[in-house]
């Protein structure tokens, strides 16, 4: 798939359309080597987090429950902010967040250009 070069830092990849993502549920996107959990909120906002629980027991987060812009981790029930991956009080931690672009109906997730490899014509 042809990536669009948006900035010097990030390369954005088309991963699907808005309708491919169910509301208040997660869907796994394998983008190259990255395994990403993509969530759509009630407001239609789309967020992408690394599909890895920040809790001590490990596991994945794509199966969690979404309330507003907060994800409840399905394994440890920690609260994770969808916007930046920050674990919310009373727990601490951080899940990697990926930038998301929605243009029209198309959803793109950005990888650091250095991770995504070189951009080829």
């Amino acid at each position: 798939m042809e990536p669009i070069l948006n900035s010097n830092e990030y390369t954005y990849y088309l991963v699907g359309h808005v309708d491919d993502f169910p509301e208040r549920l997660g869907r796994v996107v394998r983008l190259g080597k990255e395994v990403i959990a993509v969530f759509k909120t009630t407001d239609g906002q789309i967020y992408a987090l690394e599909n890895k629980s920040p809790g001590p027991r490990g596991g994945t987060i794509a199966e969690g429950m979404i309330s507003g812009e907060v994800l409840f981790d399905p394994i440890c029930d920690w609260k994770i902010s969808l916007t930046d991956g920050q674990v919310l009080d009373p727990d601490t931690g951080q899940v990697r967040a990926y930038p998301v672009q929605v243009l029209g109906n198309e959803v793109r997730i950005g990888l650091l250009t250095k991770e995504g490899g070189l951009f080829h014509e």
Partner: protein
């Protein structure tokens, strides 16, 4: 002479809320002072007319809204004639004549004939399919229409019309509200509030045709549409007229009693004729006719005192307030509501949260207010309007500032005869007396003892303040409250369940909105719980909310710590066949499962299945889901029983399979395990199951509340039964009783400890009517369950979005 005084004859025409409330007060003030006869045109005893919208929404049955049953009339020596209409009053001879030919003399007469829906005098208004919304018969008409027809129109965008329209919408009809004016509820709301309400109702699915004057009803015998004065038309197979009410004055007028819009009364409810009084919607007091419930009670209180010779202040009119009884919409209006000269206005308008609050002041005193979207302060606001309270910083903050500012307890300022609960006509004095006389300490107890806050619950904060005021230091707010279901709310499970039923809330969004959740989308604690309670209460109406299910129940498989899943197909009663075993083995190989485990529930678990392989495995297996992941019936463990075992006295496998097939898939508060044994040797371990059944010679023993888990508990004997039919009915009733009274995630072992085995035994064994009713409700719930694996297989869209990953290659690859 004294004797005769004690037996004066009081005749009441009209068996509704206004009349009967007056009689109730008379009975309290001066028991035995009157011999009482009541005539009512409707075939029912007195019922709560303002709750008809609940009957229409099917959240209440007719029996639930009866206020005084026939027993009550009997106990109080009241002669009641239902289905009987009084046709004439002879004010000279002091008698009334009824349509059944009866003629009854009176010493005192109360007319409480209420009002009639106003039927627009336009051509075609007499066609079939056009009704008012006034009594139980109208309600039944509407329920029948919803079964037969699709397109409904409600004429009138006032309180009653909107309640009727929402009710019909909930019954599945396509509903348009037709309103003469551009703005709905224009008599209670200003421009902004009206638009906000309309937008909210539109988002719930109601349609509006405003600024439309009805000119003619179309159709042959039955109505088929409406033509408006602007020439446009609207298709409608069913029309509800809710354009207003007219006091029912025909009888009074015909009998020579002075009438205008209503029957004219003075400040003591006296008509132009001696010993004849009129109370409620049928009268006109100082030029005003009322159509809401609170004024009726206030009038009734004055009239009752007057008739019992108790000193009373005259009735000087009421401040009316309006609260819309529509689930998911908070609308409150009281006193003045329109901007006008000489008024100062405090206004807060938040389009994002969809909240609008307006308080109107005259000379610094609160004279009116409108609340949309946040009705938390409505009962206190009403209190401030009634008492003409002067605006203070604290009140200002409470209404338009940040929530939960302490405004102090104003219960002391309320007059004794002030009506606190408008729905049930309960005064402050009633409540204070009940607290003092019966030693009440919680709002729940007050509710039971006085009915205050029983209906809409809007006055609950005031009731609580009164309790606090009366008890002083003894008031313990912690004790008065049960544990909240999660941190999004302060309400307990019982309070939430009651509100869901009473307000007819069907979706968890409505619950969170109507009950003012702090967190608009809930949390991981309340989301699955609400989804369970709603499904339990509304088995046929509630649509399961998949996004509120824990992952296992959503994916219909058990997630493992590495993100793979375990698949457990049904193996009813732990009985299988060589063919099924071979199939399972082949599939385990085909999908390269990591492990095959024989579970504690007598079946097989295929572990280490990838998420995207789940639907494929289900398809290849062609077996139903074993629900090994669910808050539902897991397995029915059985021993070999009489089919093979030398000791077996009962066919435990047969019964186990029957039970598992009957009750599988149904949502329960928590996981649920059964066992059936063929003899008391108990090889299938009944004592650690939610229900353990033990066969004996000629009988089954039913044990309940066992748990072999974290907190082990031995099951206790519930009862012994002789027949399989009885066994099935009691098991069914027990499970349903647990479903209805258990807290979400509460196992039967904890539940029985909490409610007591005795109360369970009473409910599901001894009380046969209740047992049967529980079993019937269980059947309704069971009729709704679906096999989830095949459901997902048959829905490619759902399957794809829930199970398939998206793979995109990058330049890394």
């Amino acid at each position: 002479m004294v004797e005769a005084q004690e037996h004066r004859h009081l005749v009441l025409i009209g068996n509704g809320m206004a009349g009967i409330n007056t009689v109730e007060q008379i009975l309290k003030l001066a028991p035995g002072a009157y011999r009482i006869t009541v005539f009512g045109s409707e075939p029912y005893p007195n019922y709560n007319r303002i709750q008809l919208s609940y009957v229409l929404e099917k959240s209440k049955a007719v029996e639930d809204i009866i206020l005084n049953d026939r027993e009550w009339y009997l106990e109080n020596g009241i002669e009641l004639y239902t289905g009987t209409t009084v046709t004439h009053i002879d004010t000279e001879q002091k008698t009334v004549k009824a349509d059944n030919g009866m003629e009854v003399p009176y010493d005192t007469l109360i007319i409480a004939t209420g009002s009639n829906p106003f039927i627009l005098p336009v051509p075609g208004a007499d066609k079939e399919g056009i009704v008012g919304f006034r009594d139980i018969a109208d309600c039944e008409n509407m329920l029948r229409a919803a079964d037969q027809y699709k397109k409904a129109a409600v004429i009138g965008g006032g309180l009653l019309g909107l309640e009727a329209a929402k009710g019909l919408l909930k019954l599945g009809m396509d509903v348009t509200v037709v309103h003469l004016f551009e703005e709905i509820m224009e008599r209670q709301l200003d421009h902004t509030a009206s638009l906000m309400l309309q937008a909210e109702l539109e988002s719930q699915g109601l349609k509006f045709a405003t600024g439309k004057q009805t000119e003619e009803f179309l159709g042959d015998k039955r109505v088929s549409g409406i033509r408006f004065s602007d020439g446009t038309t609207l298709d409608a197979e069913f029309v509800v007229m809710a354009v207003g009410i007219r006091p029912n004055i025909a009888l009074a007028k015909e009998s020579g009693i002075a009438v205008n819009k209503g029957i004219l009364v003075n400040d003591y409810m006296r008509t132009s004729v001696p010993d004849v009084y009129a109370v409620g919607e049928c009268n006109e007091h100082r030029g005003i006719t009322y159509g809401l419930v609170a004024p009726l009670f206030e009038q009734g209180a004055v009239l009752a005192k007057h008739l019992c010779g108790v000193d009373t202040k005259p009735y000087e009119g009421s401040v009316v307030s309006t609260q819309l009884k529509i689930s998911g919409v908070d609308v409150f209006s009281a006193g003045e509501f329109m901007d006008a000269e000489g008024l100062s206005i405090v206004r807060m308008h938040d389009d994002w949260r969809r909240i609008y609050k307006k308080v109107l002041l005259r000379g610094g005193r609160i004279v009116g207010g409108v609340l949309i979207g946040d009705g938390k302060e409505s009962s206190r606001l009403q209190q401030w309007i009634r008492t003409g309270t002067v605006m203070t910083e604290a009140i200002h903050d409470a209404i338009v500032g940040q929530a939960s500012v302490e405004t102090g307890n104003t219960a002391a300022e309320l007059a004794d005869e002030e009506i606190v609960c408008g729905c049930n006509g309960v005064t402050k004095k009633h409540i204070v007396d009940a607290i003092n006389e019966k030693g009440l300490t919680t709002v729940e107890e007050i509710k039971v003892a006085t009915s205050a806050s029983r209906s809409c619950g809007g006055c609950r904060p005031v009731v609580e303040q009164i309790l606090q005021y009366v008890l002083g230091d003894k008031y313990d707010s912690a004790a008065a409250k049960q544990e909240a279901i999660c941190s999004c709310t302060t309400l307990s499970k019982d309070e939430v369940v009651t509100a869901i039923k009473e307000k007819g809330l069907i979706t968890s969004k409505e619950v969170r909105y109507a009950l003012e959740w702090d967190n608009p989308e809930g949390c991981s604690k309340c989301r699955p719980a609400l989804n369970y309670y709603l499904g339990m209460i509304w088995p046929t109406e509630h649509v399961d909310e998949k996004d509120s299910r824990f992952v296992n129940e959503r994916m219909h498989a058990n997630i493992q710590k590495d993100g793979t899943f375990g698949v457990v197909p049904r193996m009813y009663g732990g009985v299988t066949t060589p063919e099924d075993l071979r199939l399972i083995a082949d599939i385990a190989v085909k999908y390269n499962v990591k492990l095959v485990k024989v579970t504690g529930g007598q079946r097989l678990d295929l572990l280490g299945v990838k998420k995207e392989d789940l639907p494929k495995i289900w398809k290849d297996l062609g077996m139903p889901s074993g629900y090994a992941y669910a808050k539902a019936l897991r397995t029915v463990k059985t021993c070999v029983g009489s089919q093979f075992c030398r000791f077996g006295t009962k066919d435990s496998m047969g019964m186990g399979i029957l039970l598992e097939k009957k009750f599988e898939r149904l949502d329960m508060p928590a996981k649920f395990k059964l066992a059936v044994n063929g003899c008391p040797r108990n090889c299938a371990e009944s004592s650690t199951k939610d229900i353990g059944i033990v066969g004996n010679e000629g009988a089954w023993e039913i044990y309940v509340g066992g748990n072999g888990g974290i907190k082990a508990r031995l099951a206790e004997l519930l009862c012994k039964v002789r027949t399989d039919e009885e066994l099935l009915e009691i098991v069914s009733a027990f499970m349903q009783y647990y479903r209805e009274t258990g807290k979400y995630l509460e196992r039967t072992s904890d539940w029985i400890e909490r409610v007591g085995l005795e109360s369970v035994t009473e409910a599901v064994v001894h009380d046969r009517d209740n047992r049967r009713a529980l079993a019937e409700r269980m059947e309704v719930a069971l009729a709704q369950v679906k096999e989830p694996w095949s459901e997902i297989l048959n829905n490619s869209n759902l399957r794809e979005r829930m199970f398939d990953e998206i793979t995109v290659s990058t330049n890394q690859d």
